[in-house]
């Protein structure tokens, strides 16, 4: 393999470039990024960076003396892929042909269904530029309505509260994070908002936004209207795979991959938020939208690409995520689904410091910690050594 093009210059793209070089690839490496920025770390965008405690320079993912020997094509979007000669078409009309292609285009924040032409003051949060725009709008004393009580929404609510805004969260499901953590633990995390004077409204859908030029309110399906100066829409993300439509690369909820990251097209692998790898333990494809997945899977995908798909795929550690809200550290690892039992094994929910273990037929399958870092680390290790299928 003499040349590799990596489409996506964020965490997964950068880590794949590193893995290729670590694994001995010394050919031409081209890294294409739709944003104008060098690779940066996204988790702080809703936390320390949004709060103004760290700077843009602190977000840099590359080390100072790092030299991947890559050609960077930043600020240009990929618009298509010709599978026959593995030619990546770019929006500026140019193209890059390579022996191997890495798809690492990430995901795009969902907007509200039927969103009217963009009102000022309405935000999503995915990129550095999104964070800069949102930060400029988070002015002390303003009223923020967060639509969606997922991790992004919860973290922005926490940061905005710290900055002195009045905050309301609206969630369609009966509890925050119910799909990810189950209703009981979702409710427990919801209490963190209420402790800090954030109004949490669950089980009600959003009907629409009001305002002429700038947003001034959020209409709920039950007829209520919430005053709003700023709105954050945090209702998830969809994989950024539109540019691969019709390319012959199989798509489902993301780029469908085998357990080593290989796609339906030889010489093309996919990593990060856009990739849905087959998980032998679960028995189905599974898209992982977590930082940790974007860090660990590139090593496997690079080996798949360089070996022509013959490298054995090592077992994957269970997904892991963390979130910081209101000064509390939340960590979760594993796979849970409805019907799993949940037991609090350290601390208690009332004290907002606890560790809960999810079990299926008495087998631990997932663990949630709130300010229980040491115990969580042990449990996460333990989960990594047992099948969670």
């Amino acid at each position: 393999m003499r040349s590799v093009a990596i489409v996506g210059a964020s965490l997964a793209g950068l880590y794949t470039a590193r893995a290729l070089r670590d694994q001995g690839f010394d050919g031409t490496l081209t890294i294409i990024g739709s944003e104008r920025h060098r690779p940066y770390d996204r988790p702080p965008l809703s936390k320390e960076f949004l709060a103004g405690r760290i700077t843009e320079a602190d977000l840099a993912l590359e080390t100072e003396d790092e030299d991947l020997g890559a050609e960077w094509r930043l600020g240009v979007r990929a618009s298509g892929l010709d599978r026959h000669d593995r030619r990546v078409l770019l929006a500026d009309g140019t193209s890059i042909t390579a022996d191997g292609v890495v798809v690492a285009t990430g995901a795009t924040a969902r907007s509200l269904p039927g969103d009217s032409p963009s009102l000022r003051g309405v935000h999503t949060l995915r990129s550095l530029d999104d964070a800069l725009a949102l930060r400029a709008d988070l002015v002390t004393g303003r009223r923020l309505v967060v639509i969606g009580a997922g991790f992004i929404g919860a973290e922005v609510a926490s940061t905005a509260r710290e900055l002195g805004l009045g905050v309301t969260i609206v969630e369609t499901a009966p509890a925050p994070l119910a799909r990810a953590l189950g209703g009981e633990m979702g409710t427990a995390l919801g209490a963190l908002h209420e402790d800090r004077g954030v109004l949490l409204i669950c089980g009600v859908a959003v009907q629409g936004l009001t305002g002429d030029d700038r947003v001034d309110g959020v209409l709920l399906a039950d007829g209520r209207r919430l005053d709003a100066d700023v709105v954050l829409v945090g209702i998830g993300a969809r994989p950024e795979t539109g540019w691969l439509e019709g390319s012959g690369v199989d798509l489902g909820d993301g780029v469908l991959c085998d357990s080593g990251g290989g796609t339906s097209v030889p010489g093309v692998v996919a990593v990060g938020d856009c990739a849905s790898w087959f998980d032998p333990g679960l028995g189905h494809h599974h898209r992982v939208e977590h930082w940790t997945g974007a860090v660990h899977r590139p090593t496997v995908a690079a080996a798949t690409l360089l070996s022509g798909g013959t490298a054995p795929a090592p077992p994957q550690a269970p997904p892991y995520l963390w979130s910081d809200q209101y000064g509390r550290r939340i960590q979760f690892a594993g796979h849970t689904r409805p019907g799993d039992s949940v037991t609090v094994e350290e601390g208690d929910v009332a004290s907002r410091s606890f560790l809960a273990v999810y079990r299926r037929e008495d087998r631990p399958v997932a663990v949630l910690g709130v300010d229980q870092v040491r115990q969580f680390t042990r449990w996460r290790r333990r989960l990594g050594t047992v099948s969670t299928g």
């Binding site: 770390d41 702080p44 320390e48 405690r53 760290i54 700077t55 602190d58 993912l61 080390t63 100072e64 930082w291 940790t292 860090v295 963390w322 000064g327 509390r328 410091s353 300010d371 870092v373 040491r374 969580f376 680390t377 042990r378 290790r381």
Partner: protein
């Protein structure tokens, strides 16, 4: 020299967080019986290394899994980019003492005391 804890209170494989100093210091007792002290805060983001995973002479950050060599402070791989500062450790009459380094620490950007 700063007294940290009784040696008997720090079994092998465990860590002690000395949080009466700023920044806090983590003291580790390895499975081989060696004692090491480093700054407790990961150089990447605000996380306590005493809460991390101790394996041999290395501790893995509990948040993002960069590993630090307790003997030198060196980090194996990103996301952390800078080594963690190391300190001396002395045991006298069953008490573990830390001999603080006079070098500047490598604290993460935006680090602040945890609220718990």
């Amino acid at each position: 020299m700063i007294p940290a804890c009784a040696l008997a209170a720090l079994p092998r494989g465990e860590a002690f967080r000395l949080d009466t100093v700023e920044p806090p210091i983590a003291v580790f007792h390895t499975d081989d019986g060696d004692l090491y002290a480093v700054d407790d805060t990961c150089t990447h983001q605000d996380a306590s290394l005493a809460d991390g995973w101790l394996e041999g002479c290395e501790v893995e950050c509990p948040l993002h899994a960069s590993r630090f060599d307790l003997r030198t402070g060196q980090v194996d791989a990103p996301p952390a980019k800078l080594p963690v500062r190391t300190h001396g450790v002395v045991v006298e009459d069953g008490t573990v003492y830390v001999v603080p380094s006079d070098l500047p620490p490598n604290l993460p950007p935006g680090a602040r005391a945890r609220t718990v």
